[in-house]
């Protein structure tokens, strides 16, 4: 099949950028979307032009490195799927597509479809962990975790940190990502000791990074390739409010 691509080209963070049109004439339906772009890029290089820069690594939907908008939808049309796992059989001959990077103040564009998502790392660094030094753990089976809790925690922990939720949100909120981590740890006994300070520190960091506020639109859940549930945001809000009432921030800061 033949696909027409309009791709956002931007040399670096300073460049203004704009769309350019490319033709992909011999696309097989068994190709992945990124394999289709590989072929386009080989053509560009042979013609002496700069290839399209896009992030990717595992190409198995697990590392969270890939991601861009395909005609306005983060990761493209197939639900629960990263762009590296999207295959061309989901498109038809003659389709014209628009590829754009994630757009959010907190995710500056580095080049073409590549953005800087390091704000996510800083949110985790602010509290997305259990403070346990190597070597100080008790026996694994000494902490019994009810299976339903383990399963729910796993559902939340499946987040791959791709940033699609931010890109899809009209407010560019990072609430789905942040709440997935807060929930993962809040649902487990191991996460209890730091539960309050974690919620407060992570939510405050998220706001400081320039992400917008959540107004319950739900676009994030719709595009999330790991189907992270919006109920995590409710859990985060509850934890944040409870912790604020207990005024743990002051306690947490004293402890630091």
């Amino acid at each position: 099949m033949r696909i027409t691509l309009n791709v956002w080209r931007q040399k670096n963070a300073q460049d203004k950028g704009g769309f350019e049109k490319y033709d992909a004439p011999n696309v097989s339906e068994d190709m992945s979307f990124l394999e289709m772009l590989d072929v386009v890029n080989e053509g560009l290089i042979s013609a002496g032009k700069d290839p399209i820069a896009f992030d990717h690594d595992c190409r198995e939907g697990i590392c969270g490195m890939c991601g861009f908008m395909i005609s306005g939808v983060a990761h493209g049309p197939e639900s629960g799927t990263t762009v590296c796992q999207l295959h061309m059989r989901k498109f038809k001959d003659g389709d014209e597509l628009w590829l754009e990077p994630w757009r959010a103040k907190a995710f500056p564009v580095l080049r073409d479809l590549t953005v800087d998502r390091s704000a996510f790392d800083r949110i985790i660094a602010s509290g997305g962990f259990v403070s346990v030094h190597t070597g100080s753990a008790i026996d694994g089976n000494a902490i019994a975790v009810p299976k339903p809790a383990a399963d729910l925690a796993m559902d939340a922990a499946a987040c791959i940190g791709c940033g699609a939720c931010v890109a899809a949100c009209p407010n560019a909120s990072a609430s789905l990502f942040t709440s997935a981590k807060i929930s993962h740890l809040a649902l487990l006994p191991q996460g209890q000791p730091e539960r309050d300070r974690r919620a407060i520190n992570m939510v405050e960091r998220m706001n400081a990074e320039g992400f917008g506020h959540c107004t319950n639109i739900g676009e994030c859940e719709a595009v999330c390739p790991k189907e992270i549930k919006i109920e995590n945001i409710a859990r985060m809000n509850r934890d944040y409010i409870c912790a604020s009432f207990k005024d743990r921030p002051a306690v947490a800061r004293l402890a630091d």
Binding site: D30, S126, K147
Partner: protein, 637 residues
Amino acid sequence: MKLDARIPEGPIEQKWDSHRFKMKLVNPANKRKFTVIVVGTGLAGGAAAATLAELGYNVKAFCFQDSPRRAHSIAAQGGINAAKNYQNDGDSIYRLFYDTVKGGDYRAREANVYRLAQVSVNIIDQCVAQGVPFAREYGGVLANRSFGGAQVSRTFYARGQTGQQLLIGAYQALERQIGLGKVEMHSRSEMLDLVIVDGVARGIVTRDLVSGKVETHLADAVVLGTGGYGNVFFLSTNAKGSNATAVWRAHKHGALFGNPCYTQIHPTCIPVSGDYQSKLTLMSESLRNDGRVWVPLKAGDKRAPGDIPVAERDYYLERRYPSFGNLVPRDVASRAAKAVCDEGRGVGPGGLGVYLDFADAIKRLGANTVAERYGNLFQMYERITGEDPYKVPMRIYPAVHYTMGGLWVDYNLMTTVPGLYAIGEANFSDHGANRLGASALMQGLADGYFILPYTIGDYLASTKLAPIDANHAAVKAAEARVNERTNKLLSIKGKRTADSFHRELGKLMWDNCGMGRNKTGLESNLRRIPELRAEFWQNLSVPGTGNELNKELEKAGRVADFLELGELMCRDALDREESCGGHFREEHQTPDGEAARDDEKFAYAAAWEWKGEGQAPVMHKESLNFDYVHPTQRSYK
């Protein structure tokens, strides 16, 4: 050069304990005076960086992805082994040790393997404490599954995303230390050279992958946790960015390369679909717990799988290996698949595939239980192939997956360059000639959490290092090498892309240094790879400049290194005139087609020394002694 593995004296159960006692300690207050560079943030590097920082060292960590959480370890699916014996099925540290030495076809160092089995139990405890959501039973205790090469159930898992969850655990510990200011993290940063001062590793030169800036980082010791080199084959289950650059540059500075030819070919991957194929996707080995492998009994049988009656199917693993059945180790399962396809009994386009069938499991357990165990894998399979494995059997074929070879290290995980350590898949590891499933995650975390942080302290406490700064001649020289090479890659302005060279190299390696190897094929590779390399340096095309985000430049540098490493792999494979584990020399097989080892001549680890451009490398031997697990022909019948 004399190789000294520094294996501690004493009975195997006591070696690690007595070594830990004898090693020098760095006084807690002095730890902050030392800086350690950790390249790589996978399970090995991430765990090491976090643990060293917890201990009080200053750590500088590096990865080429945009976040440390994306290291290739994230893709591991099936699980991690540990000798917990929670299932009360007869497991023990000794049994895990025994299975690993045997599974490695008696080509691993016993003392290291025993230590690995010992610390395996601590790993699970540590990960649980971090909040890794391992699978649980209804009673709240940890669940286990079985993996190939073992008759006990000792594999811990988090759905089909075990690597992801373990890595996120290590990443969170790392981020905590970054937040506390103990780790300085450099993402999108690629190590391109090593700084050696007075014969000792003191730093690295990196390229910032966004700005192109070349930078030097100095330290008191350097740790490489940069993963495996399976991407030599172009098509593998590794992430696209996985590469050998860091270890190869270290090799060229004197770090010997151990057993480069030991490659693991994984039996259960989705077959190739076209020549645009960019990578291969693994279907976890855990599927073999419930899936049955078969091909039609008759060659050329083109009927749909459902139309082939049971009597006309060959469940060849169950037939050939009645006691292990579908759970034979990977090397055995891969070769058996190749054998039936070579007989013309392969299925799917091109006849390069075998069925992995869940119909019986679905009948026995119900679709829901099967979905709970493997749902995400089934979904992934369907996305890629467009076929529903709940209805038709999966088609699978072996693919390159893991490299047992890597930088040679002693018992302390130090390479032959003092102050340079290699951990995780980057070292030549504890897996001998074949790694058992669920043991790489175990080894990466063992190295990172529990071994390196001790042994590096001994080095730092007992070595006097002169202060150096960025103006040192060795630093300037290393930077100059990096700039020169980058300029060279950019200035060729030829006609072929880095990928096209990489594909061609990969095909040579797969055809002649893959599942089956023989003298003629290897010799032909040893002629053709240098020719291909020469063409690369004359006809490569890299667009753009070095001062910007330039993915083609990154690729070109990695392919240049693969073109050298591939040759060494073939040389090692040619030299090893026996079959062992993943290394199958067609000239050396038993009458029923199993690998024929030659313990008289080849019970050693081959450690290769770089002798310079155009010079033949020199091999050094570390002879392997088996005082506990006595070599026999590995049998899974």
